[in-house]
């Protein structure tokens, strides 16, 4: 990753809007478990790319918007994303130096934590998944992490501005 600290704020907002749209894109109900957690992936990406600008507060805000858009319990995704962002902020120095597949393994753990929090809130408010099936999105997210990382790095370096 480049250690360039001039993000184009438009790209950050646009990327999150796109991730939100992808996370509510209609899928057949039987396929719903195979949807990657786009918003959580993006939070991990931005925290690792710009750790001094993006952090727990950003994750909280994005989580609230995701709750509204997905019509979930207000605070469910905010809580999960805050946990993910916190672990990311603590560990980004090491993770940046990992190989892509090692990063994927780490992303699996992070999204797994995210799913665990979401499932926990589910179990407090209604039906929760009874088996480990709720970890399937973590697996799918880990698989698309290398692709997303390469695409986002390309986009970020192309668009970074010097206005900040």
């Amino acid at each position: 990753m480049e250690f360039q600290q001039n993000p184009n704020i438009v790209i950050v907002v646009l990327s999150f809007f796109l991730a939100l749209a992808l996370s509510v894109l209609p899928l057949p109900l039987n396929w719903a478990w195979f949807r990657p957690e786009f918003v959580a992936l993006l939070v991990i990406y931005w925290v690792m790319a710009l750790p001094d600008r993006m952090g727990v507060g950003m994750a909280f805000g994005v989580g609230l918007v995701q709750d509204v858009v997905e019509n979930a319990v207000l605070g469910q995704h905010a809580l999960a994303l805050v946990a993910v962002a916190y672990v990311c902020v603590l560990s980004y120095r090491r993770i940046r130096n990992y190989a892509l597949w090692q990063q994927s393994a780490w992303v699996f753990v992070l999204i797994g934590i995210h799913q665990l929090f979401c499932n926990w809130v589910h179990s407090l408010t209604g039906p929760a998944s009874q088996s480990l099936i709720f970890l399937v999105p973590a697996l799918v997210s880990a698989l698309i992490w290398p692709m997303m990382l390469i695409a986002m790095e390309w986009l970020r370096i192309r668009t970074q501005s010097s206005r900040f």
């Binding site: 509510v24 894109l25 209609p26 109900l29 858009v69 039906p127």
Partner: protein, 255 residues
Amino acid sequence: MDPVRAKLGLITHSVYWVTNLPSDFGDWVGERFTSKQDLLDENAALKEELLIHKRKVQQMASIYAENVRLQQLMNSSERLNERVVVAEIFGVSPDPLAHKVIINKGSRDGVYVGQPLVDADGLMGQVVEVSPFSSHVLLITDSTHAIPVHINRNGVRAVAEGVGDLYQLELRHVSNTVDIQEGDLLVSSGLGQRFPAGYPVAIVDTVVHDPGQPFARVTARPMAQLNRSRHVLLVFNETRPKLEPIQSDGIPAKP
């Protein structure tokens, strides 16, 4: 929190509008590039279908009149007049554990919480949340949903519960002696005061009598095309049922 959510529904609506663009585009392309022969074939098929339905409607009038007469004889309440509005499904709940869809009609169109939703084949669910331009509908197969039904053949009442499977409902507390068979049609009984009576809900799939269990295990397959329909009907109850005290001679008391 609900009013806040209803206001924020506008943000939500814009996101869902974006996610709906590809399918809108697909529809548009489909409309533009249909061959003339396809349209002619479709037209012919529709005309044929219309003819069949018209024949059925011919007898409808007399049957309806007869039904009204009989109901007056029995002194039972009149059938409610129901108005319907066509809505379009433009989103599916991203939560894999919830069977919810989002439709493009909201409080601006008079949609209210608890309103039933049907498609061409049967009952789909009920509205659980309303924002100005869209509303959320809980499908009958959601694991938190149950609907009072009766068997069309003999009028035995039951409660059909969703189990979180799109192709299955379960009937609750059906004792082993109840007359219920595979292939029985379950229609809404209207007992919960939420769904109008008489809409087809499901067809009984399996009936298992296990001597070790206190109740028979009955599963049914929903009639409505829960994951295929795009255009659905919102049913408006124009007149809510009025409850009048009945005197001993069976004539309703004057208020």
